[in-house]
Each structure stands twice: as C-alpha cells, then as structure tokens.
Symmetry: C2
Subunit: 244 residues, 2 copies
C-alpha cells in the first residue's frame, strides 16, 4: 500500500498474480481509500500500484481513458472506475462480508446519505486544496451536513451506520472523517466543535479501532504534510515511504 508512486516514464508493472485484483491508487486519495476499505473489509486479495497524480505514467490511460484513480483491474484485464461503482461491484460480486444492507429500501437510504455526504466532500476539498480560510457558506455546508449524520446515528441507535459493525455507508464516508482534523488548520474555531457532534465523535473513535480501518489509516500529521506539499505546488506522495 505504501509502494512508490509511479510517474511518467516508469515501467508498467507486470500483471498481478492470478486470482488477485489490481488497484491503481494513490496513498493520499480519499476515493482510492474507499476501495481499499471495501477490499480489506471483504478480505479480497489485491495488490496496489500507486500513481503519481501530478506526473502520470502514460500506461495508466490504457487502464482508464481519463487516467484517473481509483481504477480496479480484474483478472480478465477489464478495468472499472468510479469509487462507488467499484465498491458496489465488489459487494455484489464477492458475497463474503456483505457491506450493503440486504433490504433494498435501507440500501437506497444509505446511498442517499452517501450522495448527501458529497456536499461535505466538495466543501472540504475546496477548503483544503484551494481556499486558505473557511467562509461562512463553507461553515454552514459542513455543519449542516455533519448535523444530518449526527442525527442519523442517533435515529439508528447503532454503533455504526450499518449496525454493530461498519458497512458500506461507514466506509464510503470514512476517508474524509479520517481527514477531518485538518479542517481545523483552515477553519474557524466553531467549525468542528466536538460537543455538537458527540455521537459522530464516538463513531469516529470506534472506526479507528476497526481492523479494516487500521490497515489504511494515516495520522493527521501525514495528511497535513501531504497537503502542505500539494498547496506548495509540489505534491509529495512518497515521503511516507521513509517515515513508515
């Protein structure tokens, strides 16, 4: 998972060993982490090829016409992309450790919440990548979104959104929750007031103790260091190789 990020001019790695899936990924990409979490939760064998997103190898376009990650390469050479499509595919194809609710209605409700979470993602992305300081609109979008998720956890009355263990909704929102502390760097004091989101904070603590989450989690320090390199115009994806 912490292999070097391959750049333009790098040799294309040989195909994965038979029976293994191959994930084209990036260690700091939250969408890639979604797929990693699903693969790990379902205990599906895979290997990872990390891609340098600021200087992509040409051959990534043979896997994905847009050269985007995450891209999942199958046994037969077929490639899938879009994190939520890959996640749904894996859950349908591999029956062990099901992540989506069995009931179509509950599944649809969870998918609506994943969709709603996109508003938080968009705002976080804008704040972390482009804008130096959080504005009032961003504040509102994030706190409105988090309030929805806080209430929903209360309404469900379970440890995780999916019950007594994390499921698809938990994993689809996790990568951004893992990075939430970074917002403090750019946000105002009121933004992530823990007392407003007690249940979410408890959920977040529980998630960090899950074996699946532990496999890919990074401390905020790492996320911040990466973000600083990104904002300085020279994203450094590989510093983690020397530090971990």
């Amino acid at each position: 998972m912490n292999s070097p990020h391959l750049s333009r001019g790098s040799k294309q790695p040989p195909p994965p060993k038979s029976g293994k899936l191959r994930l084209y990924s990036n260690r700091f990409c939250p969408y890639s982490q979604r797929v990693v979490l699903v693969l790990d939760a379902k205990k599906i064998p895979y290997d990872v090829v990390n891609i340098n997103l600021s200087n992509k190898p040409d051959w990534i376009y043979d896997k994905n016409p847009y050269g985007k990650i995450p891209t999942l390469e199958l046994d037969n050479g077929d490639c899938l992309y879009e994190s939520s499509i890959i996640a749904d595919y894996l859950d349908e194809k591999y029956h062990q450790h099901p992540l989506h609710a069995k009931d179509p209605l509950q599944k649809a409700k969870d998918k609506i919440l994943i969709e709603q979470f996109n508003r938080i993602i968009t705002t976080m992305y804008r704040v972390m990548m482009n804008v130096g300081r959080i504005g009032l609109d961003d504040d509102e979008a994030i706190s409105e979104g988090l309030t929805t998720f806080e209430k929903e956890l209360g309404r469900r009355g379970t440890q995780f959104y999916s019950g007594n263990k994390p499921g698809m909704l938990d994993f689809m929102i996790w990568p951004w929750c893992e990075r939430a502390d970074i917002l403090k760097l750019f946000g105002n004091q009121h933004l992530l007031k823990r007392e407003k989101y007690k249940k979410l904070m408890e959920w977040r603590r529980r998630m960090t103790e899950e074996p699946t989450v532990k496999k890919s989690i990074l401390d905020s320090d790492y996320h911040i260091k990466y973000l600083q390199s990104y904002r300085a115009g020279m994203p450094d994806y590989d510093f983690i190789l020397n530090s971990k």
Copy 2:
C-alpha cells in the same frame, strides 16, 4: 402524467391508493422521466404529482429536504430521491422485468457509461438553459461522448445497449436523447451530423417505437416550447394540458 403542476399554496394531494407508489415529478424534467421509464418498463403501479419548480408548494419539503424532484413516495410514507438511486431501488425491489444486467461486471460497466453520459448531460444543460450558442468545447464534449456511445453499440452488436430490449442504460440516457434535436436550435451545423452516429440514430428510432418510451415521449416541438418559456424567465409547464 400530464396533470397540472402544483404551486405554492396548492393543497397537498391525498396519499395514493394503497399499493401504489407516488412520484413527485415534472413533465419536462429529464431526471423525473428516468424514473417514469423505469416504473413503466417494470409495470409498477404509481401515480404522479407534478410540481411547479419555479414556485414550489411548501409541502414538497416534507417529502424531500431539498424540495427536489424526482421524489418517490412509498407505501409506508418513506421517500427516496436521486434518479439513479430510485431506479436501482426499483430494479432491486421489484423483480419483474429486470433492467440491470444480472452479471455484476456488466452492470458495473453499464453504470460507468451512465456516469460518463453525465458529461453530455452537463454540457446539454448548459447549452440549452444558459448559453445561447454552442462553443467549441461544448461541441467536443458532446461529440466525444456520443462517439463513445456509438462505438459501444457497435461493440455490443445488439439492438439496444441491454440486448434485444431496452434496459437500465438505455432508459437512463433516453430522456436526453429524446431532447437531442433541440441542440440544433443552438448548435452549429456539424454537431449532430447523423452520418457520424448511424448506430445511435438507429437505436434512437428503435427506442421511439418501444411501448415504455411511447408512454412518456414528447415531440421536440413541446420540448422547444417549454425551453423557450424557461429561457424567457417564465417556465410554462402546463401548456401541455391544453395541447395534448
């Protein structure tokens, strides 16, 4: 389906008859039409409540926190939104006339194409609603997108994307294909050259002959008349009541 579009101040309609789903919709909304197509293809009983989008009734916010359509109301009062989530829900919940491929890989590939079609949708929306004339970038986005779909139909070698009858992918892209001729009003001569998209044009003709499509299809004249009212700042959703 052609009932009047209800506005602010209008009385909330009584719940649907038992066993019927209720679709909050708009006769000219392509996303709503997606759900209509799925309901009709699967022969699921439903009724329609049309919403005036430029002057929404307050009670629509009880059904959907964003007041958006399409919103599907279930027997038990639960409401679902987001057209593709509703479509997937209906296909999972109601087993008759399945629309998605059974094979998870084929289903994922179809979902990637639906996702790719969003680029065409975004461009069409921008062109039809805001910008008077198509620019070169828009040209390219649309012709690149259509070329993908033209080639895909050739690769599959079937009458419809889903085989010998239309399936989820066919229905998810149809509402914008139904409206494609409108682009000529705003586009340049080269945009929709039929000879570039022979297979797509054949597919489109076949789609217009499908009973499911016939139930909701409108002539380009209607779409143009609606669009003109929209662009003039006074969207008229109800002229169709007097003309059909």
